[in-house]
């Protein structure tokens, strides 16, 4: 098929976008991760310089090495940060799934005329900055915060709870922030489910509970998977929530990266951390893409 110039430009635009705004920065970060720390501006060496001619380019590549990656592998801090990120993201995803599924189920079973409003309420928090919403949790969770005051007043506890600056606060923050990303895809699958399937299940002898596990749950699996990936993937690299709500012992790779980059000004090591984080995320991202593809072919 012959394409007109206009069509070619149209097809080329997204590729150009990816090239300039994704591939180029990625290659720059990859390059920095192979460089050495230096007291200079920018703080790494070698710098790419074409004035040295062909010999200069060869010299440049010769100076790149995997030193930073070796360092990451040897220092248990980084491995622990990665593992801890996986754990926090994993547990948060499960909690988000349990809460999100209940909300999505209630939404999908609510009277049809209420649904747009209820879905609106799920999306409503996005109208406020993410940062401010996380910040607001400090006021709720701190020792003299709203939650403790409430619990003390109704007499559930005698001593204020220490929640802020612990992993619990990080879980609360992640679950709260990412809940809409879990609710919406699950709601979408539940909402389009044919209700006569449940009647058919009942007609064939299923209790309501059996019908849920045998029909509703398997049919909402695409939504569950999409929601879990949408929560898990960004939660691994989360920085703001552990930084604002977590304690000094909350170990997450996003925070480690921040410290390396801004506090230690070790750009090469921070870049190596970022590249490894990316590699770590590729697995779930690829799984997510494949699942989405399967969905598209299915419908």
């Amino acid at each position: 098929m012959n394409r007109t110039l206009g069509q070619r430009i149209l097809v080329a635009l997204p590729y150009l976008w990816l090239l300039v705004l994704f591939l180029a920065p990625f290659l720059i970060v990859l390059k920095i991760s192979l460089s050495d720390l230096a007291v200079s501006r920018p703080p790494y060496t070698p710098q790419f310089d074409l004035s040295g001619g062909w010999a200069g380019v060869k010299d440049f590549f010769a100076k790149l090495d995997f030193e930073n990656y070796t360092f990451l592998a040897e220092d248990s801090l980084y491995i622990n940060a990665y593992l801890s990120s996986l754990k926090i993201a994993g547990i948060s995803t499960i909690i988000t799934l349990l809460i999100g599924y209940s909300i999505a189920y209630a939404l999908a079973r609510s009277p049809r005329r209420w649904r747009p409003t209820l879905v609106m309420l799920v999306i409503l928090p996005f109208w406020t900055s993410f940062l401010i919403r996380v910040y607001a949790w400090i006021g709720i969770l701190k020792t003299e915060g709203l939650l403790n005051q409430l619990l003390l007043n109704i007499g559930v506890i005698a001593e204020p709870l220490t929640i802020l600056n612990t992993n619990t606060a990080v879980y609360i923050g992640i679950v709260y922030s990412y809940l809409p990303f879990m609710v919406l895809p699950i709601y979408a699958t539940l909402e389009k489910m044919d209700e006569s399937l449940l009647e058919a299940a009942a007609d064939l002898g299923s209790s309501r509970l059996a019908a849920f596990f045998l029909v509703t749950l398997p049919l909402s699996m695409p939504g569950i998977l999409a929601g879990c990936f949408l929560v898990f993937i960004p939660a691994i690299g989360e920085f703001v929530i552990p930084d604002l709500l977590g304690g000094s012992d909350t170990l997450m790779i996003g925070k480690t990266l921040w410290v390396e980059f801004f506090s230690n000004r070790d750009w090469p090591l921070a870049s190596a951390v970022a590249i490894l984080l990316l590699l770590l995320l590729i697995v779930p991202i690829v799984l997510f893409q494949r699942q989405q593809m399967k969905q598209e072919i299915g419908t």
Binding site: D194, S196, L197, E199, A200, A201, A202, D203, L204, G205, S206, S207, A210, L214, V215, P218, L219, M221, G298
Partner: protein
């Protein structure tokens, strides 16, 4: 000599299903009004009616998805009302088929048997048998979205039948199929029903379908039964204008009873013309308003006045040519229209009656039905 299958005519036979004064309301709307009905074992019973007549509500009450506000539904003498759908010996084939999209044909069919805890080797045997019966054996491992409409319909049927219900409910079972497939499937359904002996209750708005498959038909209107009869009786001996008009094509002429004698009445329909003669068992007093229902195929059309019990003259207004038959719409002097049907034995270029022709339409005195409502 075998007796015809007609348990409803035998006062000694016990009904399988009996509805006693069943009423169902949705808010202030009465979907089913004080309805009583008996359905017998091995019947292929059709509930026929226009949309909104309450036929689906009636079926959903039999399945257990709706609870009647008043009255009771008995199955083999026991009240079904307090029994939830999952526990009723009744299965339903849904209009949308409601096949589980994530399960294969085989697993869809086995679903109900697994729920009742049937041993797995028995499940396997029964699933294989039923798949053979509905010719799905080759598709056992396919998912519903890999099947054609007709195949899906058969999976839905098999899934309901494999539980060996006492009563199978079919909600517009053939509505999603195209006409040719629908006709084939009607005969398949009848064959399956006869070989298994299960009682079938089918809900449909398609009168041809109801006429073809069923032993008896209940015509519903506004939540009430208009008439319950065999297909032949319903067509040839409708009780009311509604039923006559709903089943097949009909001409309804309004008139006044002039003479009533044993076995027949005279009906004045046209000013200054002879009274029409109608054979009937009813003896309405003269002067009552009554209607004559005439099926088009029982009315003949000709240019010359024929020798017949009833003959009226008119003008051809329209001709509906359907290939095998033509329906002539003949306008009478008073403006009413009689439909007359002729089969096209001769090729169309030799048909001699055409638009605007002055013609006679004629029928015998026992061709029409006198209706008093």
């Amino acid at each position: 000599m075998t007796l015809p299958f007609a348990p409803w005519a035998d006062p000694a036979s016990e009904p399988l299903i009996e509805l006693r004064n069943v009423t169902k309301r949705f808010g202030v709307f009465e979907a089913v009004k004080d309805l009583s009905l008996k359905i017998y074992e091995r019947e292929f019973f059709a509930i026929l009616g226009p949309s909104g007549c309450g036929k689906t509500t009636l079926m959903r009450m039999l399945a257990g998805f709706e609870t009647p506000n008043a009255g009771e539904i008995l199955l083999g003498g026991t009240d079904l009302t307090p029994i939830p759908p999952a526990k009723r010996p009744v299965n339903m084939m849904f209009q949308s088929y409601a096949l589980f999209p994530h399960l294969t044909v085989e697993k869809n069919i086995a679903f109900g048997l697994k729920r009742e805890g049937t041993p797995s080797d028995e499940i396997a045997d029964r699933v294989v048998d039923i798949m053979r019966l509905v010719q799905l054996t080759d598709f056992a491992h396919r998912k519903p979205d890999q099947l054609s409409g007709g195949q899906r319909q058969r999976v839905a049927l098999a899934r309901a039948l494999v539980k060996r219900p006492k009563l199978l409910l079919l909600d517009e079972p053939l509505g999603a199929l195209d006409k040719k497939l629908r006709q084939e499937t009607q005969f398949e359904l009848m064959g399956i029903q006869e070989s298994l002996g299960t009682t079938f209750v089918i809900v449909t708005h398609d009168q041809e379908e109801a006429m073809t498959v069923s032993s008896r038909i209940a015509v519903m209107r506004d939540g009430e039964l208009a008439q319950v009869s065999t297909p032949t009786d319903l067509y040839e001996r409708p009780d009311t204008r509604f039923v006559a008009d709903f089943i097949g094509e009909v001409t309804i002429l309004e008139g006044r009873v002039t003479t009533a004698s044993r076995g027949g009445v005279g009906l004045a329909v046209l000013e200054g013309a002879e009274d029409l003669r109608v054979v009937t068992d009813a003896t309405p007093p003269s002067g009552t308003t009554a209607w004559l229902a005439l099926r088009p195929e029982k009315v003949s059309i000709s240019r010359a006045k024929p020798e017949a019990d009833n003959a009226v003259s008119g003008k051809v207004l329209d001709i509906a040519y359907l290939g095998n038959i033509s329906t002539y719409h003949v306008e009478l002097a008073n403006g009413s229209i009689i439909k007359a049907q002729e089969s096209n034995r001769a090729r169309s270029d030799r048909r001699d009656i055409t638009w605007e022709d002055a013609v006679w339409v004629a029928w015998e005195e026992d061709a029409g039905v006198l209706l008093l409502a």
